[in-house]
Amino acid sequence: MKYIDEFRGEGPARGLAAAIAREADPAREYRIMEFCGGHTHAISRYGIADLLPASVRLIHGPGCPVCVLPMGRVDSAIELALEHRVMLLAYGDCLRVPASNGLSLMKARARGADVRMVYSTQDALRFARENPGREVVFFAIGFETTTPATAVAVLQAEREGLANFSVFCNHVLTPPAIAHIVGSPAQAPEVAIDGFIGPAHVSTVIGSLPYERFARDHGKPVVIAGFEPLDVMLAIRMLVAQLNDGRSEIENEFTRAVTPEGNLKAQRLVAQVFELRDSFEWRGLGVLPASALQLNQRYRAFDAELRFRLAPRAVPDNKACECGAILRGRKRPSHCRLFATVCTPENPMGSCMVSSEGACAAHYTYGRFRDAA
């Protein structure tokens, strides 16, 4: 596969591993957070940690929109399907997220809910077109990579007069989440993270400019990395270099797909349809201001929360759950009492275990042999 296989080569991986080993100072620690769940997955799945010197520590961030989706929101989606009897459409990642009372969308389907998986919002529109007598709701989740697809669907639904189509919107934003992790500029030195691997595909849409403030105001370098393991390793090398030099800049490793301004057309479409929510709950992080989107005034008619008058539901996590600390880099999965005992991918207790890219799920599925050693 072109532009994929070449970014997974063993030869360059060894070359990068050697370069990083040479350039990293064994006397200090390089605490690097990869924000994006996709990067967490790539790191675990290729065993990249094995190729790095001990001084480089990778911390898995909260950039997994399934993981940070509060259980209460999944409960609402289930309510739409089971009680309001809508046709509920969702990406595959959502179907097994556990909600309250031992339910998930998948389990709700077993109880008769009409829940279907889609690959694209275009599929969602098609279902709405083909079922004019049914209410069809798209369960929209995702960061800025995925939001434009929902915007396109809403605009198309308006053009076509698809009155039976609506969106249950849970789109969230990346810079506010990073901001929450780094805290205020004054707090920055205490934050247990030295630099960030910036998300690949979010950056394709938003560009590299939105990260400038983290480098400038908080002194944390950010290197935007492509999705493949060699991209991640090159970005780590670039971060190590910055930290050695005492620089804090935004650098772009993923130059083949990311520009400073990003995809302006996608951004325009999103701005046309959505507006900022005052605040939104992120599982594991708490309520964050100005961190999520809702449909704006003009497109309220397509807002499922309004159409079906969904009541907000707050569902607290287990008190022993350490996701908050893990997401901020202060603890590791194996430090949590619940990890691999009560909390497993089959029975996740907190956001870090919910999808295969959460820090705990990735460690459990790909890396827990290291704890046993």
Binding site: I4, S120, A149, A200, T255, A257
Partner: protein
């Protein structure tokens, strides 16, 4: 929500749609989020939409860097 991949645009099928290929697998996807895409271009595909055109010069530059690193290690 990051899973995206570079795919080759094979043909434009009208109404903002195009047929793309990843290896031997073909699929019809939407170009609603990009502009100026032609058959022969590579685009980054996510959830049924092209998000950005792949800059092949930049891709080659990055690959050359990797090749140099592999070379250095081999010697």
């Amino acid at each position: 929500m990051c899973l995206a991949m570079p795919v080759l645009v094979l043909e434009l099928t009208g109404g903002d749609q195009a047929i793309v290929a990843l290896g031997d697998v073909r699929k019809e996807v939407s170009l609603a989020l990009v502009e100026d895409v032609q058959p022969g271009d590579y685009v980054i595909l996510h959830a049924g939409y092209a998000l950005q055109k792949l800059d092949r010069d930049e891709a080659d530059r990055t690959l050359a860097l990797f090749a140099a690193l592999a070379q250095m290690e081999a010697t």
